[in-house]
């Protein structure tokens, strides 16, 4: 009996902290329509700041607490709303997701840079005080947390229902434009709610850090629990959010108490929040199609098929050259870049064309790699089977959220990533706990590509074929449908398109592409493990894809190379490891609004060079084809598969 009581109290304590975090999330989402994926990352950074003030600089606890909750956190929230997330709510969901994922990665990088890894402890509030209730000892810290959550609830209630600005906040939930017409200031309301939201994230982070420990990732991921609670309140009801948070806390505590700590179900305890999130999302009511939304996105120009084949051949030539001249260690890097580039192609399909965001694309690559290693058929059949399995898993992830769109799909991929990380990949039937599997290199039509150079060339061939197939798809009926669905789901519905299955198929196809990349990667490496496909690898993948241009094959190529270079850069200058992520994350924040990314700058450069030097070069080298007439220029522009210098040489 007493164990039940003590675990309930423990659950209420964590639930209270989740409730504080989740109410901040709900507040920012409802007032600005921006779902802050980085909410937990803000909590993490603020917990570190609190540690810095109170432990490293030795300020008294009350002062540190006041500075963090009253100055640093609200200031940050205000600045973020002012300069980062302002106006994102009216745009496509994919953009606000990418920008906040950028914040997420950037904040983790920043924390690692400012506070390099070392053991840190945060003492709980009033460490030697507590209450004896029957057989159960309740610490003062737990009581304080539970009381604080009640105080937060009461204050939010008072703010929203008893003050003018609260009324404005509730009004801006419904219609910010109308609020502005009636003399309200939506910007001020938004800034205020972000300030409060980040403060609440900070409070939750500070309260949880003595229990969870000061860890970059654990504290950041705790927010999945907050998401789950916020979803329970359908992202708008604060009372339901509190109920959801408390329920989740208790559920998680009971899981720790009663689920087996060994055997195949051991991982289950760690994924209770992710499962909870899944269940809540599935139970959400059918989403109504939005009418009258912004549409028409200027995307990167589509190259002609001839040009694409030409650039593809050029790329293959270059890789062949590298394969003949580079060391095996360097070639492994080229192969890794090809893997990343293929995974990014799957994002071009899903995000660039389809407008959906996956936060766990590399997990699908992991599924493909796992299947490839397990099938132990190092040939085309095995490779395609593993891609097919990944596609099936991808479709399965999209299936429960069939009726929902955008945000919920992305969040369920996040829950899926956590599930795979902690439960499936670590299981005995997969890689095993901290284990690895070995995989053979591919044999194509009886020819074994055992040399690294040859194998990397095969990977490049797959990349080029995949890219060409993607461009072909984009040109055809399916490509048009994809764009139409992104521009106006409501019109597609009233024209008779069953978007639910289409979306599942799209998700499956994209996951299959990532799976193929994973299978090839397994062959490249020879040994693979769960660590190669962690959820956290998927976020930089998404970010670099967007920064480099998620609407074009060129962007995927650049992104693949960039993502491969990141760890190289980090290992050559370890002290800058965190900073690299910070730059990437905040870079995505700055560039996330334009999905065409850096690739589009290159296209522009290509066009300008063509205009300037095209005639001269053509006069010198008469075999070069003439540019198409002006009218078709837009659909036929350079697609430099490698680098800018190439453009000049070719034009």
């Amino acid at each position: 009996m007493s164990t039940i009581i003590s675990f309930t109290i423990l659950g209420l304590f964590t639930g209270a902290a989740y409730a504080i975090a989740a109410s901040g999330l709900v507040l920012t989402y409802t007032t600005t329509r921006v779902f802050n994926i980085a909410h937990g990352a803000f909590g993490m950074v603020m917990a570190f700041t609190f540690w810095d003030f109170s432990q490293r600089q030795g300020m008294p606890t009350w002062l540190a607490l006041f500075l963090v909750l009253g100055v640093v956190a609200p200031g940050t929230g205000w600045l973020v709303q002012r300069f980062v997330t302002r106006g994102l709510g009216e745009g496509p969901v994919s953009v606000s997701l990418v920008v906040t994922v950028g914040l997420f990665v950037g904040l983790i990088g920043l924390a690692q840079y400012i506070w390099p890894p070392e053991p840190r402890t945060v003492p709980p509030f009033l460490p030697d005080k507590g209450l004896q209730i029957g057989d159960t000892y309740v610490t003062a810290h737990q009581i304080i947390t539970i009381v604080l959550s009640a105080v937060v609830a009461a204050m939010l209630y008072a703010l929203l229902n008893r003050t003018r600005v609260g009324t404005a906040m509730r009004a801006s939930v419904d219609n910010p434009v109308l609020l502005q017409l009636f003399g309200g200031k939506p910007d001020r309301v938004a800034s205020l709610s972000w300030a409060i939201g980040i403060s609440l994230a900070a409070l939750a982070g500070i309260l949880l850090s003595p229990v969870v420990g000061l860890s970059y990732f654990d504290l950041t991921l705790l927010v999945i629990n907050a998401y789950a609670a916020a979803m329970f309140g359908r992202l708008k009801s604060l009372p339901l959010t509190f109920v959801g948070a408390m329920g989740l806390g208790v559920l998680q505590s009971f899981a720790v108490a009663y689920l087996p700590s060994e055997g195949s179900l051991a991982g289950l305890r760690a994924v209770v929040p992710a499962l909870f999130l899944f269940v809540v999302i599935i139970a959400m009511p059918q989403a109504q199609l939005r009418i009258g939304q912004v549409k028409g996105i200027v995307t990167a120009p589509l190259p002609s098929m001839r040009k694409s084949v030409g650039w593809g051949a050029g790329l293959l030539g270059l890789v062949a050259l590298l394969a003949a001249s580079m060391s095996d260690a360097d070639l492994l890097l080229v192969g890794t870049a090809a893997t990343y580039a293929m995974a990014m192609l799957s994002l071009v399909l899903l995000t660039g064309y389809g407008g959906h965001v996956s936060l766990a694309q590399f997990t699908f690559a992991g599924v493909g790699a796992l299947a490839y290693a397990k099938l132990d058929e190092p040939n085309l059949y095995g490779l395609f089977m593993s891609a097919l399995i990944a596609a099936g898993v991808g479709a399965l992830v999209a299936l429960p959220v069939l009726r929902l769109t955008g945000l919920y799909l992305a969040l369920s991929t996040l829950a899926f990533g956590v599930l795979m990380d902690k439960l499936v990949f670590q299981a005995e039937f997969a890689f095993g706990f901290n284990g690895t599997l070995s995989a053979q290199r591919l044999t194509v039509l009886g020819h074994e590509f055992s040399s690294t150079g040859g194998y990397v060339l095969v990977m490049a061939v797959f990349f080029v074929l995949m890219a060409l197939a993607l461009l072909l798809l984009r040109r055809g009926v399916l490509g048009r449908l994809l764009i139409a669905m992104r521009d106006s789901p409501a019109a597609c519905g009233t024209l008779g398109l069953d978007m639910r299955w289409f979306r599942v198929a799209l998700f499956g196809l994209s996951a299959g592409m990532a799976g193929l990349a994973g299978g090839l990667f397994a062959g490249l490496r020879g040994t693979i493990g769960a660590a190669d496909f962690q959820l956290f690898n998927s976020l930089p993948l998404l970010l670099l894809a967007v920064v480099c241009g998620v609407t074009s094959v060129t962007g995927a190529t650049l992104g693949g190379i960039g993502l491969m270079l990141l760890p190289v850069l980090q290992s050559s200058r370890p002290e800058l490891a965190g900073l690299v992520f910070a730059v990437l994350g905040f870079g995505a924040v700055a560039l996330g609004r334009d999905p065409n990314g850096l690739a589009n700058l290159l296209f522009g450069l290509g066009r300008r060079l063509e205009a300037r030097f095209g005639d001269k070069v053509r006069a010198a080298v008469p075999v070069l084809p003439l540019p198409r007439p002006r009218a078709e220029d837009d659909s036929d522009t350079n697609i430099p598969l490698k680098e800018g210098a190439h453009v000049a040489a070719r034009s």
């Binding site: 109504q288 549409k295 449908l481 139409a484 106006s488 409501a490 009233t494 024209l495 008779g496 069953d498």
Partner: protein, 255 residues
């Protein structure tokens, strides 16, 4: 039997009743007008008919079968097409590709294998926007975009056309041509329901009118009868040459 029957539909948004026990029908081969002041619930009616909005009460029957619970795309496949008051053209596609998408969707899987654009240009020609075929749909004038939505919806060969303010953005000559087009479309056996504020157009092309006010159908009948109805005049048409008995009494009471 009517092609479309809207029966006793109620839609509430929070405390506001947008559609209040509204009911009307639309017949094949005829043009039915839905008129009324802004906020009367006309577009909401369209949303309920096409399935974009769930009604709190009431029933929609189409071609003799109840479709109240069918999802949007299934209704469309039964032969329903609509245009939008706030435009829903596919902005990143050209005008021609907009109509192509509609055709592809209508043809289903067969269309994926063997795409054809034979009558796409014919449709653009018919609604009179062939000149814009190669322009992006987010760069064309509003009037053209409305006609594009009409062409797009015709590509699905619907029996029932729901047009939400189709003539706004058109000038006088264009409106006249549009009226002739509507009459021709109806003459081919389609049922057309139209929400429209241009009273000249409504009065000249519609066979039947339903007037909505605060979510209720306050009058139904042929245009001539509606024009003479004092309730309608007070609620919507904005003029009154028939003294209103109730109003006169109220005024007396005030005096």
């Amino acid at each position: 039997m009517s092609l479309l029957e809207v029966e006793d539909v109620v839609v509430r948004f929070g405390g506001v009743t947008a559609v209040d026990h509204a009911g009307f029908t639309a017949e094949a081969g005829r043009i039915t007008g839905l008129i009324g002041p802004n906020g009367a619930g006309k577009t909401t009616c369209f949303n309920v008919i096409t399935g974009l909005q769930k009604p709190n009460e009431g029933r929609i029957r189409f071609d003799g079968r109840t479709i109240t619970r069918l999802p949007v795309h299934r209704r469309s496949r039964r032969g329903m097409g609509r245009t939008f008051q706030r435009l829903e053209a596919f902005g990143s596609l050209t005008v021609r590709d907009n109509v192509r998408v509609a055709r592809d969707i209508h043809r289903g899987l067969a269309g994926l294998v063997r795409p054809a654009s034979a009558d796409v240009d014919g449709l653009l020609e018919r609604v009179g926007i062939a000149a814009y075929a190669d322009e992006r749909a987010d760069s064309i004038p509003t009037g053209v975009a409305r006609l594009l939505e009409l062409a797009r919806c015709l590509a699905g060969q619907p029996q029932l056309l729901l047009l939400d303010e189709p003539s706004s953005g058109l000038d006088e000559t264009e409106t006249q041509a549009f009226g002739e087009l509507l009459a021709a479309l109806a003459a081919e056996g389609r049922a057309i329901v139209m929400v429209e504020h241009d009273m000249d157009l409504v009065m000249s092309v519609c066979d039947e009118l339903h007037v909505l006010d605060f979510g209720r159908v306050i009058a139904s009948g042929p245009p001539a009868l509606i024009r003479a109805d004092p309730n309608v005049q007070r609620a919507y048409l904005g003029y009154s040459d028939v003294p209103d008995a109730d109003l006169t009494q109220e005024l007396e009471a005030v005096r």
